[in-house]
């Protein structure tokens, strides 16, 4: 739809989508049907507005069209049930909602922890992001029917789990919010990590994740993990222009052209994470954002504040217990105390990361730092054979080739 609409109208539609859906879901008490109806209204807008012009009240237009679709749907459902001679359809009771923002309710519902990541991502992008099924399919390189199926499975899962269109209770709040943050982070990563690859809408996924995180931050400005996540996205995305070379090859942080980094995004990210860290409750997104900010702050790779980065990887390790974080801490430790210290730390995590290519990749780097080129070469080759990313493989093979020439 975005292709036929001017950018402003596309943005407006996507901004209005969750608002209209919120009203309709509350009014009808049927989230699944309301979501279908809003999707149809968005497609209708994309079809009619370019020819007939944008209506004076776009929100009212969408709401009216979506309501009509929903009513038709309910009617045909009733007719079907009458034909089947079953009990008359009860008028749906509107769900109880005391204030609260519909967009927030939608995020909580679409990122419900009972859903698989793939389902939650697809549903969030459509119901909250206002993307079409076709756009989501194009971004994830899967058939449109697969996305449609993920969305409908997500909805029935929501229905059967008894999740309702209302704010989580105080008790549920933390895990439910974590689930929302995770889904937004996955959407961001999908767009960021694969930028330059196939898929027309791929790069836009990062922008969409930033938009949703921004929206969430505006709704809950006091939550420092939300601010941390938004900061992390901005600080990471700022490096996108320098992250790949002309042939799509990965450029490591240490050799990226820093003049290509997006200064405005870095300033905003640094401001956000500084404010978040001043509040209490450190979380993993804040720790990651702090690390990203330290990298982005260095005018040159050699001026990177590695002791601070080492400190934050320590925090992150404690918060997550994730052995992959230990790999990163080993790199920071090597930069502070030398490669031998880093390699010793790697030995301690080996058992928890069997066959993980990044263990070989980090070992390769540290052995090269320590001056042991033959060993570095061996580990670069092992990492290249095991990675499941084409861009990463190219990078690792090139490093191995460079060393191979030097070793002879």
């Amino acid at each position: 739809m975005a292709m036929r609409l001017d950018a402003d109208t596309g943005d407006l539609l996507r901004e209005l989508a969750p608002q209209v859906l919120g009203v309709l879901a509350r009014r009808s008490g049927d989230f699944a049907a309301a979501e279908d109806a809003v999707q149809e209204a968005l497609l209708a807008a994309a079809q009619h507005w370019p020819e007939e012009g944008r209506p004076d009240n776009p929100r009212g237009w969408l709401l009216q069209v979506a309501s009509r679709r929903l009513i038709n749907q309910v009617r045909s459902e009733q007719a079907r049930r009458r034909r089947e001679n079953t009990a008359a359809l009860l008028e749906p009771e509107p769900a109880e909602v005391e204030g609260g923002d519909d967009t927030l309710l939608l995020l909580f519902l679409c990122c419900h922890p009972d859903l698989t990541s793939a389902s939650a991502i697809a549903l969030t992008l459509r119901a909250v992001g206002g993307l079409t099924t076709a756009e989501i399919a194009s971004a994830f390189l899967v058939p449109e029917t697969t996305v449609a199926q993920r969305i409908s499975r997500a909805k029935s899962r929501i229905q059967s789990s008894g999740a309702i269109f209302s704010m989580p209770t105080r008790q549920e709040w933390e895990p439910r919010l974590q689930s929302v943050l995770r889904v937004l982070y996955l959407i961001f990563n999908e767009g960021y990590a694969r930028s330059g690859g196939q898929g027309v809408y791929r790069a836009e996924l990062s922008a969409e994740a930033i938009r949703l995180a921004r929206m969430l931050h505006a709704l809950l400005p006091a939550d420092s993990e939300i601010a941390g996540l938004l900061a992390l996205m901005l600080l990471t995305d700022a490096r996108r222009p320098a992250r790949t070379g002309p042939d799509g090859e990965l450029v490591p942080l240490s050799t990226q052209r820093r003049d290509l980094w997006n200064r405005a995004q870095i300033s905003e990210g640094v401001r956000l994470i500084t404010a978040a860290l001043a509040a209490d409750a450190i979380g993993e997104y804040q720790a990651q954002a702090a690390i990203a900010a330290l990298h982005d702050d260095a005018p040159d790779a050699s001026e990177t504040d590695w002791p601070q980065i080492l400190h934050w990887y320590g925090e992150l390790e404690q918060l997550t217990g994730n052995p992959v974080v230990t790999l990163n801490r080993a790199v920071a430790l090597a930069m502070v105390d030398g490669p031998v210290a880093g390699l010793t730390l790697l030995d301690s995590v080996e058992e928890r990361l069997p066959d993980h290519y990044r263990l070989d990749a980090v070992r390769a780097h540290l052995h090269e730092m320590a001056g042991d080129k033959p060993l570095a070469l061996q580990h670069f080759r092992a990492a290249a054979a095991r990675t499941t990313s084409a861009a990463e493989q190219q990078y690792l093979l090139t490093q191995a080739a460079r060393l191979g020439r030097e070793v002879g």
């Binding site: 490591p252 990163n328 290249a384 499941t388 191979g404």
Partner: protein, 132 residues
């Protein structure tokens, strides 16, 4: 239109890629990117992917009713006699991929008995981890 599957093999003339120079690797990869772009522009491309290395490849067979899939590191037969078709799936875990492979392997043959077909499971190369 007729759809074809073109299978790339590791075997080619000359030394294996890990022994090439950095420039040779870059030129090879540029060639692949350009070919994908040309085919897409010609309206002839459906999809192109690299496969993760054979180190992670598995062979899966139906384990029998109510039994888990039998997952092994081989044997990997010659492609020409072996390849009959493919499923491309997008799932949450490798275990789910093995489960589906076992179902494919359970397809019935003579007398309706499962033929325990060997299914080679290879991961399609995806995105790199986010840098840090």
């Amino acid at each position: 239109m007729t759809t074809f599957l073109l299978l790339k093999h590791y075997s080619g003339d000359g030394a294996p890629m890990p022994e090439w120079t950095p420039e040779e690797i870059t030129a090879h990869i540029r060639f692949q990117h350009e070919l994908v772009r040309e085919l897409a522009e010609a309206g002839e491309l459906v999809r192109a992917d690299g496969l993760a290395g054979p180190e992670g490849a598995k062979v899966v067979r139906f384990g029998g009713p109510d039994a888990p899939p039998v997952v092994t590191d081989g044997p990997f037969p010659e492609a020409k006699e072996f390849l009959a078709g493919y499923y491309m799936i997008d799932v949450e875990t490798a275990e789910r991929a093995y489960e589906i492979a076992a179902t494919v392997s359970s397809a019935p043959g003579p007398d309706g008995a499962p033929i325990y077909e060997r299914i080679e499971v290879r991961e399609i190369m995806g995105a790199p981890d986010t840098d840090s």
